[in-house]
Symmetry: C2
Subunit: 148 residues, 2 copies
DNA sequence: TCAAAACTGCTATAATATAACACTCCCAAA
DNA sequence: TTTGGGAGTGTTATATTATAGCAGTTTTGA
């Protein structure tokens, strides 16, 4: 995400926080900017390292708290298979997240499906299973890494 | 999995190892039995603890190596959102794994879809992304935990 | 203006996972 | 039959990821 887009995102999130009566504090702003500026999913301790360039010797909970906050409000997703975090551009909360993750360059492309794919939905129905959230992580090679 | 089924699984895996020229060693057998006997996904350190009832003071690598071995050969899956491992009953290697995970009782039900759901497949095509593996983890409540 | 809620900073520690190295076991080729 | 190599183990140490708990600060709203 370029600087311009990061700025916009910060504005959107700040507006959201104000509207919802939540605080858009310094550590939160920094973490948001750091994750947004990264061109690929970024781990908590890498976030923390970058945070160290902006705050005085921050500790893990500072990063994790901000991450948790943004996850809860739908502005970030955790990518389980990477232990890493990415910005979610969708301006809505959704129960599911899905990513194509390139194992060569490490970039993750989010596919904003709104519903659980039919095949899987059918299985949950058959099992009498009630879905509260889901995620799909697809590994492979992205176009750029296939045609170098 | 009951004792009878664990026994069968062990036989199947042992036969597979022999056929493929791999060793079905003591630590491997124990780890397989422990994971198979668990009624829900089990973490590496819980496996290790159980292993301690069968071997003399085993260390983390002993558990992790066996887990890695079984993952590679398609007899176990890792559930990323739980940091835990389960037996895969399918007698084939597959590129994808999918689970319904009950957040109440912790059990995981595998759905053995052989192909990436069409919606997701369409997205990978559109992106020129070549899939090497994928997983879906669906959280919610299982039938038993809905009708107690 | 003050109480409550939200948030931060910090210490400590939990939980998960792997690197590296010496040693053993087993098979198969000489 | 020995011997050499690959597969596997045992062990130490350490890396990586994540959270509990508590004291103090900021914000808000009654």
């Amino acid at each position: 995400m370029n600087k311009q887009d990061v700025k916009k995102l910060v504005q959107v999130v700040e507006a959201y926080c104000t509207k919802e009566g939540m605080r858009f504090t310094d550590p939160r702003r920094h973490v948001l900017e750091i994750v947004a500026a990264s061109d690929k999913p970024i781990g908590a301790y890498d976030i923390l390292a970058r945070l160290g360039e902006r705050l005085d010797n921050p500790k893990p909970p500072t990063a994790y708290r901000a991450i948790e906050f943004f996850e809860q409000h739908g502005f970030m997703h955790r990518i389980e298979s990477l232990n890493a975090y990415v910005i979610c551009y969708a301006d809505h909360r959704h129960e599911g997240s899905q990513f194509m993750i390139c194992d060569v360059c490490g970039k993750a492309i989010e596919t904003h499906l709104c519903h659980l794919p039919a095949d899987l939905m059918a299985r949950t129905r058959a099992e009498g299973f009630v879905v509260s959230g889901w995620s799909a992580e697809i590994h492979g090679r992205c176009r750029d890494c296939l045609n170098p």
